[in-house]
Protein backbone atom coordinates (compact mmCIF):
# COMPACT_ATOMS: atom_id res chain seq x y z
CA UNK A 1 0.00 0.00 0.00
CA UNK A 2 1.30 3.39 -1.01
CA UNK A 3 1.61 6.03 1.59
CA UNK A 4 0.15 9.40 0.76
CA UNK A 5 2.96 11.95 1.27
CA UNK A 6 0.45 14.73 1.73
CA UNK A 7 -1.54 12.84 4.38
CA UNK A 8 0.19 14.49 7.34
CA UNK A 9 -0.25 17.94 5.84
CA UNK A 10 -3.96 17.29 5.29
CA UNK A 11 -4.41 16.22 8.89
CA UNK A 12 -2.54 19.29 10.12
CA UNK A 13 -4.74 21.54 7.99
CA UNK A 14 -7.84 19.77 9.21
CA UNK A 15 -6.84 20.13 12.84
CA UNK A 16 -5.95 23.75 12.25
CA UNK A 17 -9.41 24.52 10.82
CA UNK A 18 -11.23 22.59 13.49
CA UNK A 19 -9.38 24.35 16.29
CA UNK A 20 -9.74 27.67 14.59
CA UNK A 21 -13.52 27.25 14.50
CA UNK A 22 -13.62 26.09 18.09
CA UNK A 23 -11.41 28.87 19.31
CA UNK A 24 -13.38 31.57 17.54
CA UNK A 25 -16.80 30.08 18.38
CA UNK A 26 -19.15 32.15 20.52
CA UNK A 27 -19.37 30.79 23.98
CA UNK A 28 -22.82 30.07 25.46
CA UNK A 29 -22.05 32.04 28.52
CA UNK A 30 -22.29 35.76 27.66
CA UNK A 31 -19.84 38.15 29.17
CA UNK A 32 -20.59 39.00 32.76
CA UNK A 33 -21.08 42.67 31.99
CA UNK A 34 -24.52 41.89 30.47
CA UNK A 35 -25.95 41.10 33.87
CA UNK A 36 -24.75 44.01 35.89
CA UNK A 37 -27.27 45.48 38.32
CA UNK A 38 -27.53 48.67 36.30
CA UNK A 39 -28.24 46.80 33.07
CA UNK A 40 -30.89 44.69 34.70
CA UNK A 41 -32.59 47.76 36.12
CA UNK A 42 -32.42 49.38 32.70
CA UNK A 43 -33.91 46.32 31.08
CA UNK A 44 -36.59 46.11 33.78
CA UNK A 45 -37.42 49.78 33.20
CA UNK A 46 -37.67 49.13 29.48
CA UNK A 47 -40.08 46.25 30.13
CA UNK A 48 -42.08 48.38 32.55
CA UNK A 49 -42.38 51.26 30.10
CA UNK A 50 -43.40 48.94 27.27
CA UNK A 51 -46.12 47.62 29.59
CA UNK A 52 -44.54 44.17 29.82
CA UNK A 53 -45.24 44.26 33.52
CA UNK A 54 -44.96 40.58 34.33
CA UNK A 55 -41.40 40.32 33.05
CA UNK A 56 -40.54 43.71 34.53
CA UNK A 57 -41.54 42.36 37.95
CA UNK A 58 -39.33 39.32 37.40
CA UNK A 59 -36.41 41.53 36.46
CA UNK A 60 -36.96 43.91 39.38
CA UNK A 61 -37.20 41.03 41.81
CA UNK A 62 -33.82 39.72 40.58
CA UNK A 63 -32.36 43.18 41.12
CA UNK A 64 -33.77 43.40 44.64
CA UNK A 65 -32.01 40.16 45.51
CA UNK A 66 -28.74 41.88 44.69
CA UNK A 67 -29.45 45.24 46.31
CA UNK A 68 -32.47 46.84 48.03
CA UNK A 69 -34.07 49.61 46.01
CA UNK A 70 -37.11 51.64 47.14
CA UNK A 71 -38.14 52.67 43.63
CA UNK A 72 -38.08 49.13 42.32
CA UNK A 73 -40.12 47.92 45.25
CA UNK A 74 -42.76 50.53 44.52
CA UNK A 75 -42.70 49.81 40.81
CA UNK A 76 -43.35 46.11 41.42
CA UNK A 77 -46.55 47.06 43.24
CA UNK A 78 -47.50 49.43 40.43
CA UNK A 79 -46.86 46.72 37.86
CA UNK A 80 -49.25 44.37 39.66
CA UNK A 81 -51.83 47.10 39.85
CA UNK A 82 -51.52 47.86 36.15
CA UNK A 83 -51.83 44.15 35.34
CA UNK A 84 -55.11 44.36 37.27
CA UNK A 85 -53.77 41.87 39.80
CA UNK A 86 -55.36 43.99 42.45
CA UNK A 87 -55.30 41.35 45.18
CA UNK A 88 -51.52 40.93 44.96
CA UNK A 89 -51.01 44.69 44.55
CA UNK A 90 -53.12 45.37 47.64
CA UNK A 91 -51.13 42.91 49.76
CA UNK A 92 -47.88 44.23 48.36
CA UNK A 93 -48.64 47.90 49.07
CA UNK A 94 -50.04 47.06 52.49
CA UNK A 95 -46.83 45.33 53.54
CA UNK A 96 -44.65 48.24 52.46
CA UNK A 97 -41.97 49.10 55.03
CA UNK A 98 -42.33 52.51 56.65
CA UNK A 99 -38.67 53.33 56.09
CA UNK A 100 -39.20 53.10 52.32
CA UNK A 101 -39.07 56.48 50.69
CA UNK A 102 -42.23 55.63 48.74
CA UNK A 103 -44.23 54.67 51.82
CA UNK A 104 -46.88 57.45 51.47
CA UNK A 105 -47.31 56.64 47.76
CA UNK A 106 -47.59 52.94 48.55
CA UNK A 107 -50.23 53.75 51.15
CA UNK A 108 -52.17 55.77 48.58
CA UNK A 109 -51.88 52.95 46.05
CA UNK A 110 -53.10 50.53 48.70
CA UNK A 111 -56.24 52.65 49.10
CA UNK A 112 -56.55 52.84 45.34
CA UNK A 113 -56.37 49.06 44.89
CA UNK A 114 -59.08 48.62 47.54
CA UNK A 115 -61.16 51.09 45.51
CA UNK A 116 -60.36 49.33 42.23
CA UNK A 117 -61.40 46.02 43.77
CA UNK A 118 -64.75 47.67 44.46
CA UNK A 119 -64.42 46.90 48.16
CA UNK A 120 -66.08 50.18 48.93
CA UNK A 121 -67.25 49.40 52.44
CA UNK A 122 -63.71 48.36 53.41
CA UNK A 123 -62.44 51.52 51.78
CA UNK A 124 -64.72 53.74 53.86
CA UNK A 125 -63.71 51.91 57.05
CA UNK A 126 -60.04 52.41 56.18
CA UNK A 127 -60.71 56.05 55.39
CA UNK A 128 -62.29 56.59 58.80
CA UNK A 129 -59.07 55.31 60.35
CA UNK A 130 -56.87 57.67 58.32
CA UNK A 131 -55.63 61.03 59.55
CA UNK A 132 -55.39 64.48 58.00
CA UNK A 133 -51.61 64.39 58.41
CA UNK A 134 -51.34 61.85 55.67
CA UNK A 135 -49.60 63.33 52.63
CA UNK A 136 -52.28 62.11 50.23
CA UNK A 137 -55.31 62.80 52.40
CA UNK A 138 -57.10 64.89 49.69
CA UNK A 139 -56.65 62.03 47.20
CA UNK A 140 -58.13 59.40 49.49
CA UNK A 141 -60.92 61.79 50.50
CA UNK A 142 -61.84 62.15 46.83
CA UNK A 143 -61.82 58.38 46.41
CA UNK A 144 -63.94 58.07 49.54
CA UNK A 145 -66.56 60.39 48.04
CA UNK A 146 -66.40 58.52 44.75
CA UNK A 147 -67.29 55.23 46.46
CA UNK A 148 -70.80 56.62 47.03
CA UNK A 149 -71.31 56.97 43.29
CA UNK A 150 -70.87 53.21 42.90
CA UNK A 151 -73.17 52.13 45.68
CA UNK A 152 -76.84 52.26 46.51
CA UNK A 153 -76.33 54.51 49.50
CA UNK A 154 -77.57 58.03 50.21
CA UNK A 155 -75.15 60.42 48.53
CA UNK A 156 -73.19 62.94 50.62
CA UNK A 157 -74.18 66.59 50.36
CA UNK A 158 -73.28 67.96 46.91
CA UNK A 159 -71.49 71.05 48.36
CA UNK A 160 -69.14 68.81 50.36
CA UNK A 161 -68.75 66.57 47.38
CA UNK A 162 -67.66 69.27 44.93
CA UNK A 163 -65.33 70.87 47.49
CA UNK A 164 -62.67 68.22 47.01
CA UNK A 165 -62.43 68.34 43.23
CA UNK A 166 -60.49 70.83 41.17
CA UNK A 167 -61.99 73.00 38.47
CA UNK A 168 -61.49 71.01 35.25
CA UNK A 169 -62.97 67.82 36.67
CA UNK A 170 -65.40 69.40 39.12
CA UNK A 171 -68.22 69.94 36.63
CA UNK A 172 -67.78 66.50 35.12
CA UNK A 173 -67.95 64.85 38.53
CA UNK A 174 -71.01 66.88 39.46
CA UNK A 175 -72.66 65.65 36.25
CA UNK A 176 -72.10 62.10 37.44
CA UNK A 177 -73.43 63.10 40.87
CA UNK A 178 -76.65 64.48 39.36
CA UNK A 179 -76.95 61.51 37.03
CA UNK A 180 -76.67 59.17 40.00
CA UNK A 181 -79.42 61.07 41.81
CA UNK A 182 -81.69 60.89 38.75
CA UNK A 183 -80.70 57.42 37.55
CA UNK A 184 -83.81 55.99 35.81
CA UNK A 185 -85.29 53.19 37.86
CA UNK A 186 -88.38 51.07 37.47
CA UNK A 187 -90.27 49.82 40.47
CA UNK A 188 -90.42 46.03 40.63
CA UNK A 189 -93.71 46.16 42.52
CA UNK A 190 -95.27 48.50 39.97
CA UNK A 191 -94.14 46.24 37.12
CA UNK A 192 -95.67 43.19 38.82
CA UNK A 193 -98.93 44.96 39.67
CA UNK A 194 -99.32 46.41 36.17
CA UNK A 195 -98.88 42.96 34.65
CA UNK A 196 -101.37 41.52 37.11
CA UNK A 197 -103.84 44.19 36.03
CA UNK A 198 -103.31 43.86 32.28
CA UNK A 199 -100.96 41.09 31.09
CA UNK A 200 -97.90 42.56 29.42
CA UNK A 201 -98.36 46.08 30.80
CA UNK A 202 -95.55 45.61 33.32
CA UNK A 203 -93.20 44.59 30.52
CA UNK A 204 -94.12 47.71 28.55
CA UNK A 205 -93.49 49.75 31.71
CA UNK A 206 -90.04 48.08 31.96
CA UNK A 207 -89.27 49.12 28.38
CA UNK A 208 -89.98 45.80 26.68
CA UNK A 209 -92.77 46.79 24.29
CA UNK A 210 -92.59 43.73 22.04
CA UNK A 211 -92.56 41.30 24.95
CA UNK A 212 -95.46 43.15 26.54
CA UNK A 213 -97.64 42.94 23.44
CA UNK A 214 -96.74 39.25 23.00
CA UNK A 215 -97.64 38.51 26.62
CA UNK A 216 -100.97 40.31 26.17
CA UNK A 217 -101.82 38.35 22.99
CA UNK A 218 -100.66 35.05 24.54
CA UNK A 219 -102.71 35.45 27.69
CA UNK A 220 -105.67 36.74 25.70
CA UNK A 221 -105.71 33.75 23.34
CA UNK A 222 -105.22 31.17 26.11
CA UNK A 223 -107.88 32.82 28.27
CA UNK A 224 -110.31 32.94 25.40
CA UNK A 225 -109.66 29.26 24.55
CA UNK A 226 -110.32 28.27 28.18
CA UNK A 227 -113.55 30.32 28.28
CA UNK A 228 -114.72 29.08 24.89
CA UNK A 229 -114.13 25.41 25.75
CA UNK A 230 -115.94 25.70 29.06
CA UNK A 231 -118.83 27.50 27.31
CA UNK A 232 -119.02 24.73 24.71
CA UNK A 233 -119.06 22.09 27.45
CA UNK A 234 -115.55 20.73 26.74
CA UNK A 235 -114.51 20.66 30.36
CA UNK A 236 -111.21 18.74 29.93
CA UNK A 237 -109.94 21.08 27.24
CA UNK A 238 -111.27 23.98 29.25
CA UNK A 239 -109.22 22.96 32.29
CA UNK A 240 -106.12 22.39 30.17
CA UNK A 241 -106.35 25.90 28.73
CA UNK A 242 -107.26 27.37 32.11
CA UNK A 243 -104.12 25.78 33.56
CA UNK A 244 -102.01 27.11 30.74
CA UNK A 245 -103.55 30.56 31.15
CA UNK A 246 -102.71 30.51 34.85
CA UNK A 247 -99.11 29.46 34.15
CA UNK A 248 -98.58 32.10 31.49
CA UNK A 249 -100.37 34.75 33.53
CA UNK A 250 -98.04 34.00 36.46
CA UNK A 251 -95.06 33.89 34.13
CA UNK A 252 -96.00 37.28 32.73
CA UNK A 253 -96.07 38.84 36.21
CA UNK A 254 -92.79 37.14 37.14
CA UNK A 255 -91.20 38.17 33.84
CA UNK A 256 -92.28 41.80 34.30
CA UNK A 257 -90.61 41.96 37.71
CA UNK A 258 -87.47 40.37 36.21
CA UNK A 259 -87.57 42.81 33.25
CA UNK A 260 -87.78 45.80 35.63
CA UNK A 261 -84.84 44.42 37.60
CA UNK A 262 -82.79 43.93 34.43
CA UNK A 263 -83.69 47.48 33.34
CA UNK A 264 -82.39 48.88 36.63
CA UNK A 265 -79.26 46.77 36.52
CA UNK A 266 -78.54 47.78 32.92
CA UNK A 267 -78.79 51.48 33.77
CA UNK A 268 -76.62 51.01 36.82
CA UNK A 269 -73.96 49.07 34.91
CA UNK A 270 -73.92 51.57 32.04
CA UNK A 271 -73.56 54.42 34.50
CA UNK A 272 -70.75 52.68 36.37
CA UNK A 273 -68.95 51.87 33.15
CA UNK A 274 -69.13 55.49 32.05
CA UNK A 275 -67.93 56.67 35.45
CA UNK A 276 -65.10 54.11 35.54
CA UNK A 277 -63.91 55.21 32.11
CA UNK A 278 -63.88 58.83 33.26
CA UNK A 279 -62.02 57.98 36.45
CA UNK A 280 -59.50 55.89 34.55
CA UNK A 281 -58.90 58.82 32.24
CA UNK A 282 -58.35 61.04 35.28
CA UNK A 283 -56.18 58.37 36.93
CA UNK A 284 -58.65 58.30 39.83
CA UNK A 285 -57.46 61.79 40.79
CA UNK A 286 -54.19 60.33 42.03
CA UNK A 287 -50.70 61.43 40.98
CA UNK A 288 -49.17 60.05 37.83
CA UNK A 289 -45.68 58.95 38.84
CA UNK A 290 -44.35 59.14 35.32
CA UNK A 291 -41.54 56.65 35.59
CA UNK A 292 -41.28 56.49 31.82
CA UNK A 293 -40.26 59.96 30.74
Amino acid sequence: MRKNPNGKITIVYLLFFVFQIISSAQTIKPPDKFFTLLNRIKFGNHLFCTKDYLRAVEEYRSCLKLKPNDTLQFKIGLAYERMKKFGIAKMYFNSFPQENIFFPEARLEFYKTVFLMKQFREFRNLYLGSTGNFKYFPEITRLNYLTYLFEDLPLPDSSNFRLWFNVPAKEEIMKFYRKKVNLPRKSLTAAGLLSALIPGLGKIYAGELGDGITAFIFNGILGFLAYDNFRAGHKTRGWIFAGLTAIFYGGNIYGSVAAAQIYNKRNKVNYEQELSKFLERENYFTPDYNFCK
Binding site: F86, G210, A215, F248, G251, G255, K265
Partner: protein
Amino acid sequence: MKTKLIFLFVLFSGIISAQTDWDKWEADNSIYQLPEIKDRDYSLDHSNFGTLALTMLRDVYWFGFSDLDGDNCPFQPTCSTFFVDAVKKTNIVQGVLMFADRFTRDSNFFKSESRYKIGKSGKLIDPVDNYMLDENKITILGVLPDETE
Protein backbone atom coordinates in the same frame (compact mmCIF):
# COMPACT_ATOMS: atom_id res chain seq x y z
CA MET B 1 -54.33 44.20 -45.37
CA LYS B 2 -54.10 46.78 -42.64
CA THR B 3 -57.88 46.73 -42.16
CA LYS B 4 -57.88 42.93 -42.01
CA LEU B 5 -55.20 42.94 -39.35
CA ILE B 6 -57.03 45.47 -37.24
CA PHE B 7 -60.23 43.48 -37.66
CA LEU B 8 -58.54 40.25 -36.60
CA PHE B 9 -56.89 41.95 -33.65
CA VAL B 10 -60.17 43.40 -32.42
CA LEU B 11 -61.95 40.07 -32.96
CA PHE B 12 -59.37 37.98 -31.13
CA SER B 13 -58.85 40.44 -28.31
CA GLY B 14 -62.60 40.30 -27.70
CA ILE B 15 -62.64 36.52 -27.73
CA ILE B 16 -59.62 36.19 -25.46
CA SER B 17 -60.93 38.55 -22.80
CA ALA B 18 -64.52 37.37 -23.03
CA GLN B 19 -66.10 36.00 -19.88
CA THR B 20 -67.04 32.38 -20.17
CA ASP B 21 -70.55 31.39 -19.27
CA TRP B 22 -69.53 28.48 -17.13
CA ASP B 23 -67.34 30.45 -14.79
CA LYS B 24 -70.06 32.82 -13.80
CA TRP B 25 -73.19 30.72 -13.96
CA GLU B 26 -71.96 27.45 -12.59
CA ALA B 27 -74.52 25.75 -10.40
CA ASP B 28 -74.01 26.21 -6.68
CA ASN B 29 -74.07 23.16 -4.45
CA SER B 30 -76.19 24.67 -1.72
CA ILE B 31 -77.57 22.52 1.03
CA TYR B 32 -80.80 23.83 2.45
CA GLN B 33 -81.12 21.19 5.10
CA LEU B 34 -81.03 22.55 8.63
CA PRO B 35 -77.71 21.89 10.35
CA GLU B 36 -77.59 18.79 12.47
CA ILE B 37 -77.80 19.43 16.19
CA LYS B 38 -74.63 18.29 17.88
CA ASP B 39 -73.44 18.10 21.44
CA ARG B 40 -76.79 17.12 22.91
CA ASP B 41 -76.31 15.83 26.40
CA TYR B 42 -78.97 13.19 26.79
CA SER B 43 -77.74 12.10 30.23
CA LEU B 44 -80.30 11.94 33.01
CA ASP B 45 -79.93 13.81 36.27
CA HIS B 46 -80.36 11.32 39.10
CA SER B 47 -80.05 13.83 41.97
CA ASN B 48 -83.74 13.49 42.84
CA PHE B 49 -86.98 12.21 41.38
CA GLY B 50 -88.06 15.65 40.11
CA THR B 51 -84.89 16.33 38.13
CA LEU B 52 -84.90 12.75 36.83
CA ALA B 53 -88.47 13.16 35.52
CA LEU B 54 -87.65 16.56 34.10
CA THR B 55 -84.52 15.44 32.26
CA MET B 56 -86.45 12.43 30.92
CA LEU B 57 -89.15 14.75 29.63
CA ARG B 58 -86.53 16.98 28.06
CA ASP B 59 -84.85 13.99 26.36
CA VAL B 60 -88.19 12.82 24.97
CA TYR B 61 -88.83 16.32 23.61
CA TRP B 62 -85.35 16.48 22.07
CA PHE B 63 -85.59 13.02 20.54
CA GLY B 64 -89.19 13.24 19.36
CA PHE B 65 -89.49 16.89 18.33
CA SER B 66 -86.48 19.16 18.55
CA ASP B 67 -83.97 16.95 16.70
CA LEU B 68 -86.43 16.35 13.88
CA ASP B 69 -87.51 19.95 13.68
CA GLY B 70 -83.96 21.33 13.55
CA ASP B 71 -82.06 23.94 15.50
CA ASN B 72 -84.72 26.65 15.58
CA CYS B 73 -84.60 28.18 19.07
CA PRO B 74 -83.16 31.71 18.77
CA PHE B 75 -81.87 31.65 22.32
CA GLN B 76 -78.89 30.19 24.05
CA PRO B 77 -79.52 28.18 26.20
CA THR B 78 -82.48 26.76 24.31
CA CYS B 79 -85.89 26.90 25.94
CA SER B 80 -85.83 23.23 27.00
CA THR B 81 -82.40 23.58 28.60
CA PHE B 82 -83.50 26.87 30.17
CA PHE B 83 -86.48 25.11 31.76
CA VAL B 84 -84.41 22.29 33.24
CA ASP B 85 -81.74 24.71 34.52
CA ALA B 86 -84.36 27.06 35.95
CA VAL B 87 -85.98 24.24 37.94
CA LYS B 88 -82.60 22.96 39.09
CA LYS B 89 -81.48 26.40 40.24
CA THR B 90 -84.73 27.41 41.90
CA ASN B 91 -87.76 25.16 42.43
CA ILE B 92 -90.52 23.68 40.29
CA VAL B 93 -92.95 26.63 40.73
CA GLN B 94 -90.41 29.37 40.02
CA GLY B 95 -88.88 27.28 37.24
CA VAL B 96 -92.26 26.90 35.51
CA LEU B 97 -92.90 30.66 35.78
CA MET B 98 -89.44 31.42 34.39
CA PHE B 99 -90.08 29.03 31.53
CA ALA B 100 -93.51 30.58 30.79
CA ASP B 101 -91.86 34.00 30.63
CA ARG B 102 -89.06 32.69 28.40
CA PHE B 103 -91.59 31.04 26.10
CA THR B 104 -93.46 34.33 25.78
CA ARG B 105 -90.25 36.18 24.97
CA ASP B 106 -89.37 33.48 22.46
CA SER B 107 -92.70 34.05 20.73
CA ASN B 108 -91.98 37.75 20.36
CA PHE B 109 -90.95 38.29 16.75
CA PHE B 110 -89.27 41.61 17.46
CA LYS B 111 -86.54 40.71 19.90
CA SER B 112 -84.59 43.77 20.88
CA GLU B 113 -80.94 43.41 19.97
CA SER B 114 -79.94 45.94 22.58
CA ARG B 115 -81.23 43.57 25.23
CA TYR B 116 -79.63 40.32 24.14
CA LYS B 117 -76.02 39.76 23.26
CA ILE B 118 -75.45 37.67 20.15
CA GLY B 119 -73.22 34.69 20.87
CA LYS B 120 -70.66 32.99 18.62
CA SER B 121 -73.33 30.60 17.39
CA GLY B 122 -75.43 33.57 16.26
CA LYS B 123 -77.97 32.94 19.00
CA LEU B 124 -79.22 35.42 21.57
CA ILE B 125 -77.57 34.94 24.94
CA ASP B 126 -80.22 34.75 27.62
CA PRO B 127 -78.90 33.06 30.79
CA VAL B 128 -81.12 31.62 33.52
CA ASP B 129 -79.32 33.66 36.18
CA ASN B 130 -80.75 36.91 34.77
CA TYR B 131 -84.26 35.83 35.77
CA MET B 132 -83.67 34.54 39.29
CA LEU B 133 -84.67 37.89 40.78
CA ASP B 134 -81.20 38.38 42.23
CA GLU B 135 -79.66 41.61 40.94
CA ASN B 136 -76.13 40.45 41.70
CA LYS B 137 -76.47 37.50 39.35
CA ILE B 138 -77.63 39.53 36.36
CA THR B 139 -75.14 39.76 33.49
CA ILE B 140 -75.48 42.78 31.26
CA LEU B 141 -74.26 42.86 27.64
CA GLY B 142 -70.59 43.40 27.04
CA VAL B 143 -69.79 43.84 30.69
CA LEU B 144 -67.12 41.53 31.96
CA PRO B 145 -67.16 40.28 35.53
CA ASP B 146 -65.15 42.38 37.95
CA GLU B 147 -61.49 41.70 37.69
CA THR B 148 -60.73 41.17 41.32
CA GLU B 149 -58.35 38.24 41.16
